[in-house]
Symmetry: C2
Subunit: 83 residues, 2 copies
């Protein structure tokens, strides 16, 4: 079995209003040393053993998990014996 | 400057209906080898250089980013020169 860890974030060029809102809340808590907050989605995907897990993860990201116009993704794949 | 990477996920004991929904969508795309999907939040936090960045990140997580009753978090901190 494999464990895919996928991180989906906005592209640098895309404004992240939610991140701005969280930064404001953090500043109101007194942590003014925080300069930027960007928020993304994190997926943990357990997958039965397949030949090319990278291909499966990439296809799922391209077709479903990430809006490739505005978002970018990166991933790690662990064999669940190592996870 | 530091870059904090924070991963907030549901505790194992908490049902993840959104993850179940995404798994269903993935199966309908034909990827039936996917056995489980869990969804979380991912934060990238840029912070000015402070003495104990770990303490700042943990306090922000405990106070704001994670609902410690249902969620758990882990984080990494990179000096932005390494990022």
């Amino acid at each position: 079995m494999y464990l895919g860890k996928v991180y989906v974030t906005y592209k640098e060029s895309v404004l992240d209003p939610q991140g701005e809102a969280v930064k404001g809340a953090i500043h109101r808590l007194g942590y003014t040393e925080i300069e930027e907050v960007r928020i993304g989605k994190y997926f943990e995907i357990k997958m039965a053993t397949v030949e090319r897990p990278e291909e499966v993860i990439e296809e799922i990201c391209d077709k479903l998990l990430a809006n490739v116009n505005m978002e970018t993704y990166r991933y790690e794949i662990l064999s669940l014996e190592e996870a």
